[in-house]
Each structure stands twice: as C-alpha cells, then as structure tokens.
C-alpha cells in the first residue's frame, strides 16, 4: 500500500517536473508583460512630448499676436 502511494507521489512529481521544464507560457507571459509595461511608459513619454510641442507652438502664436498689436 505504502509503496503504491510512494510510486504515485513520485509519478506526480515527475509529471510536475516535466510540465515546469517545458512550459514556456509563463516565461513568455512574464517577458511580454515586462516589455509592455515599459512600452506603455515610452508611449506616455511620446504623448507628453507632443503635448509640449503643441504648447510651444501655442506660445509662439501668442507672442507673435502680441507683437503684431
């Protein structure tokens, strides 16, 4: 009986080990998630850069308008 339980436990451990060795899903998920986080941050920076450019253009237009008066 005990031998049977020990054999089943060992088989389960072996199956688990095989699953861990070859399961690329979580590794891919981890790597992709990390890069997505950084990519989102870079996109936010690009958005902020565009907003700054718009503000500078607005300021230039305002200064030109005041000089024209």
């Amino acid at each position: 009986m005990y031998l049977l339980i020990a054999q089943i436990a060992q088989d389960a451990l072996q199956q688990d080990r095989v699953r861990l060795q070859h399961d690329y899903g979580y590794l891919m998920g981890g790597v992709i998630a990390a890069w997505v986080v950084l990519a989102v941050y870079v996109m936010m920076m690009i958005g902020r850069q565009k907003k700054l450019k718009r503000e500078i253009d607005g300021l230039k237009a305002m200064v030109e308008e005041k000089q024209g008066r």
């Binding site: 861990l20 979580y26 981890g30 986080v37 941050y41 920076m45 503000e55």
Partner: protein, 224 residues
Amino acid sequence: MRDRIVYVLGILAAAILVWNGYAIWQLPEETQQGVVFKIIFFHVPMWAGAGVTVSLALIASILFLITKNFAFDALAVATTEVGVAFLSAGLVTGSIWGRQIWGIWWTWDARLTSALLCWLLYAGYLMLRHAVEEPTQRAIFAAVFNIFAFLDVPIVFFSIKWWRTQHPQPVFWGQGSFPPDWTRHFMWNMLAMVALGVVLTFVRFRQEETQREIDAVRRTAHAF
C-alpha cells in the same frame, strides 16, 4: 552632443537586450524550476534599475531642499517616474513567476508587501505633484515626500534577510550561485536595464525642464 551620447546609449541598450534575450532563450532549463526560471534575467535587472533610479531621486530631493535649484526637482520627478515604471515591471514579472512556481499570483510576505508599498509610495509621490499647483510649494512637498518614501527601500532590500519570506533568497547575495555563462548574460541585462533607465530619465528630465520653461514664459506673457 549630450543628446547624441544619450541616444547612442539607448540604441546600445536596446541592441544588448535583443542580443542577450536571444542568448538567454538558448540557455538550458534550470533543473528545479524549468524554463520559467529565466524570468530572473528580466525581473532582477528591473528591480536593480528601480533601485538606482529611486536612489538618485532621493539624492536629487535632498539637493533640492538644500539648494532650491529646480533642476534637482526635475531630476527627482524624472528618476521617480522611471523608477515606478521599473517597479511595475518588476512586480508583474515576479507575480507571473510566482503563479508558475508557487501556484499563486500573490502572497502577503514581507518582501512582496514591502515592494508593493514601495510602488504605492512612489505612485503617491507622482499623484502629489499633480495635486499641488504652486511650483515652489509642490517641489518642497514632493522632495520631503520622496525622502519619506525612500525609507521603504532598505526594508524591501533587506526583508528577505530580516524575515522568513516565501520569496527566495538572492542568488548572488546568499548561498545560491549561477553558472559563469549565466552570470555573464545576467550582468549584460543588468547593464542594459540601467542604461535604459539613464536614457528614459534623461528624456523625462528634458521634458520637465521644457515644461517649466513654458510655464514661466506663459506667466510672463500673461503679466504683460
């Protein structure tokens, strides 16, 4: 010239990450944990990047309080923001590793809890900056809060030594070890991630300086 150096550094960091990513993919599986162990090549360098940036934020905040030079305030916000991005990526990669190895996405052990608290504190710092309108007051409040937030950083770092945690002991700062070629790839990723942090900080710093100049010009223009 300075811009060019920074952009070259960015391209170098990206090239190292791509080349090293391919090399890491080719490495054999770890005996106990299998392929998911390779997350360590990204998880730890991201935390290292976060550590470097928030330490710089602390120094910049102290220097701002001493000198009242707004360039230090801009540096503090730039480094903190990049640090929060790294912290987020570190938390996410750690959680995905935990799901595979522990069978759970999250556990309230000392390392994970202090790390989440660290993220919340620095995210709070960024929110605080949006909440205060007056620039000098905002910079002073933010600098003081940044120094306070840094108190959690040593707790995150030493938590695995001070308490028994579910989070594993460090590979390089405990009893563990890496094969030499694994160490080389790990160090390349550390270097690339810190370089990436420098580039992102530089770009964000420039944006903050530009925003301050725009605000100053706008105030002057409205005064006339």
